[in-house]
């Protein structure tokens, strides 16, 4: 096949276009890996909102204390404990262990919720 300037040019344009396409889709598309998400649970009015949250292993959950007094996020089964979260403060947990875990506020026995990790 004869090689000439115009076929080089075509190849170069094609290569550039493909690179641009891959670049614009980002590393996730190139690597085909789902991004870890960060989800939020509000601690408000002495309740956890939402009461049931489902996440993927590797995702993070941030609990934000919107009450004027401290709370905790404590799960024996799930193996996580925020210890005291002061008013206005947050606590972030990366969910590695899969399962459905009940958690409570150890200060307020009526407060419980569920974190499901898939």
């Amino acid at each position: 096949m004869p090689v000439n300037a115009s076929s080089y040019r075509t190849a170069a344009v094609f290569a550039a276009g493909l690179t641009l396409l891959c670049w614009s889709m980002g590393p996730a598309a190139a690597a085909d890996a789902p991004k870890a998400a960060t989800l939020t649970v509000a601690i408000d009015g002495t309740t956890f909102q939402p009461a049931m949250l489902t996440v993927k292993a590797g995702d993070s959950v941030t609990w934000v204390n919107k009450d004027p007094f401290p709370h905790t996020v404590t799960s024996a089964a799930g193996g996580f404990d925020s210890r005291e979260i002061a008013p206005g403060k947050s606590w972030k947990y990366t969910a590695a262990k899969k399962g459905e875990f009940t958690y409570v506020c150890i200060f307020h026995p009526t407060m419980s919720a569920t974190l499901k990790v898939e």
């Binding site: 009015g45 009450d67 307020h108 026995p109």
Partner: protein, 177 residues
């Protein structure tokens, strides 16, 4: 002697009913909220220093922390709104009821103290909730004040439930935990 809890509850109910009939303004609501919280803080401090029961002490500590936090929010809000808490028959009744309760508790110790403290906490939180629902929230004019009352209401419910749990666990046994 079981009279004090009933007397206190009855006095509060009477005062709240009176307040409802007349209506209370935001300044009076602020005074009622701050006083109601302070009464429970004071009882909690006495329980912390008097009780030998770990669960009662933990409950008392929670009352101090939570009611102090609510008061801080309430005071911050009324300061921002330039509302000065105004003393009124309901807040006065709460204050004198609180003082009577403390005086009575100070004559007790051990399991008798724990039972009287917790029994009063159940009655007290129920009456405060009734006041919040029937008088304070309905009469609050300022929307932020009303929102604060609505926001903290569940905490009082949680306190009431916690106190009831302790009350039933103490019902049969007189022993320490």
């Amino acid at each position: 002697m079981k009279v004090p809890a009933i007397v206190i509850a009855g006095t509060l109910l009477f005062a709240v009913a009176g307040a409802s009939a007349q209506g209370v303004n935001d300044a009076q609501i602020a005074s009622i909220v701050v006083t109601a919280n302070q009464v429970d803080i004071d009882a909690g401090k006495l329980a912390q220093s008097t009780s030998a029961n770990a669960e009662v002490k933990k409950f008392a500590e929670r009352m101090i922390t939570d009611h102090t936090g609510v008061n801080k929010s309430a005071v911050e809000l009324v300061t921002k709104l330039k509302v000065t808490p105004e003393d009124n028959p309901t807040s006065q009744s709460l204050k004198s009821g609180g003082e009577s309760n403390l005086a009575h508790l100070k004559t007790l110790k051990g399991a008798a103290f724990d039972k009287a403290y917790i029994d009063h906490e159940v009655t007290y939180h129920q009456q405060v909730l009734d006041a919040v629902d029937k008088t304070l929230i309905p009469n609050a004019k300022n929307e932020e004040l009303k929102a604060l009352l609505v926001k903290v209401r569940p905490a009082f419910v949680a306190h009431l439930e916690h106190a009831k749990m302790l009350q039933s666990s103490m019902g049969g046994s007189m022993g320490k935990k």
